[in-house]
Homo-oligomer: 356 residues x 2
């Protein structure tokens, strides 16, 4: 039996979208490949409210996160982490000998604009990394407000991980001043994993050109220059199957309407948060709780593993707490093509299993 995924990626992919993964192959050095990749770029620009160049990378989102922090840091990166995925930027910097400092908050809390301002006022940093939506804690950071603060520091490149929020929450790249905005296919975009996407500003690009030792496969400058020279083709053979599916799915997303899509995610999030508050507690502070995933504090001391096993027998899967939060929280993703009736069905099954 297929278990319906309510986990923060991979998510359920609609059958017609999955079918696009089975499109016959074309050469990656053809006009058809250029057109496909150009079309995707134009649609992604709408999704991200940006005029910046869109670039694809045949990697997971982590690939482009590493690409961004390594390619753009000339001086020192300030890594703001509100959970495991935020800290990953720091691990990537360390693994590449990129100077970086880690600024963490207690799990469940957001990065604040004030915290960022204070750190940048030292003048030590030329890159800031922030996680928009942290799936380990269920926090959605106030990136718009953080972006306002960063505008006071015109030499700072602002890199944002929107892996688990893009297409599930409004992200206004140009208005918020995001220089490198990174996402991947397997979360709110509701596609299979295997492709990452970013936007890059002229500022980020100019900064990166001055950085030596950017590597090869994950060098943002090399990607950018190749796209310009070869009409949206890529230096290495990309995942054409994902591109067909992404192009098709972006049409469906734009057809639903971005505002409608974001409202649907918000409605699901509010419903799950109300449910969590009724039967358990929210793990993150509520005013910064995510609209794509809810992290529920296990105040009833249930066995999350057992609950998930029971749910599995009924055709559902949720996520246990992440890392140190295992069994202390459980996580319900409400992203991608998931609908409120499906969320209600899931929660009714949880209530039934737990006798709530």
């Amino acid at each position: 039996m297929h278990k319906k995924l309510f986990i923060p990626g991979p998510v359920e992919v609609k059958p017609d979208v999955l079918q696009k993964m089975a499109t016959p192959m074309i050469g990656h050095r053809t006009k058809s490949a250029s057109k496909l990749q150009r079309d995707i770029s134009e649609k992604m620009m709408k999704l991200f409210y940006t005029e910046n160049q869109v670039m694809l990378s045949t990697t997971s989102g982590s690939g482009l996160m590493e690409a961004a922090i390594r390619s753009c840091t000339g001086k020192r990166a300030a890594v703001f982490a509100v959970g495991a995925f935020g800290k990953r930027w720091y691990d990537m910097a360390v693994a590449n000998n990129v100077p970086a400092d880690l600024f963490e908050v207690e799990w469940g809390n957001p990065t604040t604009p004030e915290q960022v301002d204070e750190v940048l006022a030292t003048g030590k940093y030329d890159v800031v990394t922030v996680t928009h939506n942290e799936t380990s804690t269920g926090i959605m950071n106030p990136v718009a407000e953080i972006g306002e603060v960063i505008k006071k520091y015109p030499d700072v490149v602002f890199c944002v991980d929107t892996v688990s929020s893009a297409a599930g929450a409004k992200i206004e790249v140009d208005k918020w001043g995001i220089d490198v905005c990174i996402t991947s296919t397997q979360k709110a975009l509701a596609l299979p994993p295997g492709l990452a996407i970013c936007t890059i500003s002229d500022k980020a690009l100019e900064a990166a050109r001055k950085v030596e030792n950017r590597g090869f496969y994950l060098d943002l400058v090399r990607l950018y220059d190749y796209i310009q020279k070869k009409d949206h083709q890529y230096p290495s053979t990309p995942s054409i199957s994902h591109m067909y599916a992404l192009d098709y799915q972006l049409d469906k997303i734009l057809e639903e309407g971005l505002e409608n899509r974001f409202a649907r995610h918000e409605e699901m999030a509010k419903y799950v948060r109300a449910w969590a508050n009724k039967h358990f507690e929210l793990f993150p502070v509520e005013e910064h709780a995510s609209n794509t995933l809810t992290n529920v504090r296990n105040t009833r001391n249930i066995s999350v593993a057992d609950l998930n096993k029971q749910l599995g027998l009924r055709g559902f899967t949720i996520s246990n707490g992440y890392g140190k939060l295992k069994e202390k929280t459980f996580r319900i993703a409400h992203m991608g093509e998931t609908t409120l009736p499906e969320i209600k069905e899931l929660l009714e099954n949880i209530e039934d299993i737990l006798g709530l």
Copy 2:
């Protein structure tokens, strides 16, 4: 109209294999994911005649080539290049500040065991990179013989790019002493692009553990340790669609029989070489001509672009010469699921178009 691909990747993918790309998603941290990835590893071990660990990377083959040269070079890498893809290893080393020297031959010639021996005798190198099958020139290097020479130097890690030969020619990883053997899905494996595969020996792994600054996403040690710890799961979300298709296609390949498959490739290669010798000339020296791709010298001074346009109208695509060989050669791939009757049909159409 779909154009049948006779280019050195992407290649034609059979409809039933393409259909596996549309398999519904599962979580990548599940027992089902571990089993899928373990099954792939066991089948790839047969294909590569090895007991070494198999690792997957959601990148193109270039991603793992960079991973290998960066992760394994502690002292200095000797890069042997017989064309554009061989030289790419060198560009990757330079882009990562990895000490390396480039040893090139005139295009159309192989790397010889004697050349490798002479270079290694200097004692300057701890990594050797060789391209098994160079699609820019049509050379298949004598990797078995090169491997024999390298066995004289027990501290040297032998990295081989088998991107365009694996599953189309016999590659005996253990017998030939290959420490890191790299391939990707979109060539003779006859799958869509988007996933790379390598084997890694204990020697390569031990060497890599001593190397600092290996990066994150492309760090072979990190990949290896994660696989061991988490039963064949991967640090980042992998391309599950490609894994389903690869697992299925490996069954089909093993069902065909490896020796049968290699013989089929050899038969097609001999036929195309005889045809090339009759109507044109071979570009590479014949005793080292590739069994998966034939590079034909354009001795008749035809317009290769026009020929390909005419072929396109009939539902076929071949490749122009690569880089500096554009219009000076043309390339016919005979790899993956392509059969001799299909090759004959292609060549008859070329003869018809050119009035041969």
